[in-house]
Symmetry: C2
Subunit: 237 residues, 2 copies
């Protein structure tokens, strides 16, 4: 099956969670953010087109045969067993999906700290509020989430979040940690030292041969301040 | 199967999305927020207990035989086909789940407007920021979400979000609209007038005999300011 990934060009964003899974699996996929005929016009045909029967609310979305699947965690839930990155039994699938939803919650909080008032405003319009928000994120929410992921790893019975085999949620957590290291390098260093299993998953997932090859390729965009995690030194480091 | 719903006592919260599905289905379930032996101590055994192999990050979570399932949308995804509130075929299940995840995003934005800086702070500590945030929520995010849900209903081929049969996401959207009406009664009146299909789902879902009986019972808690949507007149009406 050839998949089509629809996402905004110019940033890793939520599309990257799907991309990393597809890359690790060596799956056959077209990335509209990169290829010809892609870009925002293609996205808008699905977002605003009158004939899309099941329109997505926002990118990313995935084309798979006749299916058009939206919401990052839903896409991965669908893909997981098909590309060998989730258990096929229901109980295991639900657990990996539950973890993925929690990773997505973490990522959203990591994003919202620089958009505390509204995602409809620019960062520059909510800088003062963002300073307060970032302080609380770093002091309270970040250790709460990483403490949870560390606990999950302690009890998983293996080196990965759901046990002895890598699943897509390991790649997503690694990507979230990568974003955190870009946004708050010093904070990340400290918090990863305190959560060694989480740090290990980041290293191990990003060292997988196919993932490492992708990360070293031109297709992997550099972290930037249009992304989920952003580097604004005035919010702390 | 007897299910056990674990949730905080004293508020509808995210537990209510699960409760409404269980009530509509006439399912057999124990609600630890209400019953004896329930309450916060029971929750904490799962959240902090050392022997929980797959610990949830936060309530609600659902006990189903040996399974313990967390994340509201994940719980409903599991329950849906089992209690007759989602299609059993994968494509239909994925679509309903995708919509549910979007309803949860909407609800989170409805909550975060009065906690823009941090959920770790009280509303009173972020009142000024909340005023700005509420303004943008009402002016931009609210019409964006309701416009999306209206479009989904227009194209669904039936009166409900996924077509001719009620699914759990209709109950969840009705609950979200109910929260909105509590928080911003005047805004809700206007926006529902502009989105008549969404208004209709709210009315029709909350008029289902079992749902109506539940809503009229003592078990349905009144909306209050510990909940997701809150009434602070200074944030607008």
């Amino acid at each position: 099956m050839r998949y089509t990934l629809y996402y905004w060009p110019g940033l890793q964003g939520r599309g990257e969670f799907v991309r990393l899974a597809l890359e690790e699996a060596g799956a056959d996929y077209v990335d509209t953010a990169l290829g010809k005929g892609g870009g925002i016009a293609t996205l808008n045909r699905f977002l605003s087109g009158k004939s899309v029967r099941q329109p997505p609310f926002a990118p990313p979305f995935l084309g798979a045969g006749k299916l058009l699947i939206g919401q990052t965690a839903n896409i991965l839930h669908f893909l997981g067993p098909r590309i060998g990155l989730a258990p096929s039994a229901e109980a295991g699938r639900l657990w990996v999906h539950q973890l993925q939803l929690t990773v997505m919650d973490f990522v959203k909080e990591g994003h919202d700290l620089h958009h505390p008032v509204s995602t409809a405003l620019y960062y520059e319009q909510q800088k003062k509020e963002a300073k307060r928000s970032a302080k609380h994120f770093r002091a309270e929410r970040l250790p709460k989430y990483l403490g949870y992921f560390e606990k999950v790893l302690e009890r998983s019975g293996g080196a990965w979040m759901a046990g002895k085999r890598l699943t897509y949620v390991d790649l997503s957590m690694a990507q979230a940690i990568d974003g955190l290291r870009y946004a708050f390098p010093q904070t990340a260093r400290k918090v990863l030292k305190a959560h060694p299993r989480v740090a290990k998953v980041h290293e191990a997932a990003f060292s997988r041969p196919r993932v490492a090859a992708y990360l070293a390729s031109e297709r992997r965009l550099a972290s930037n301040n249009d992304d989920l995690f952003r580097r604004y030194p005035e919010l702390g480091s």
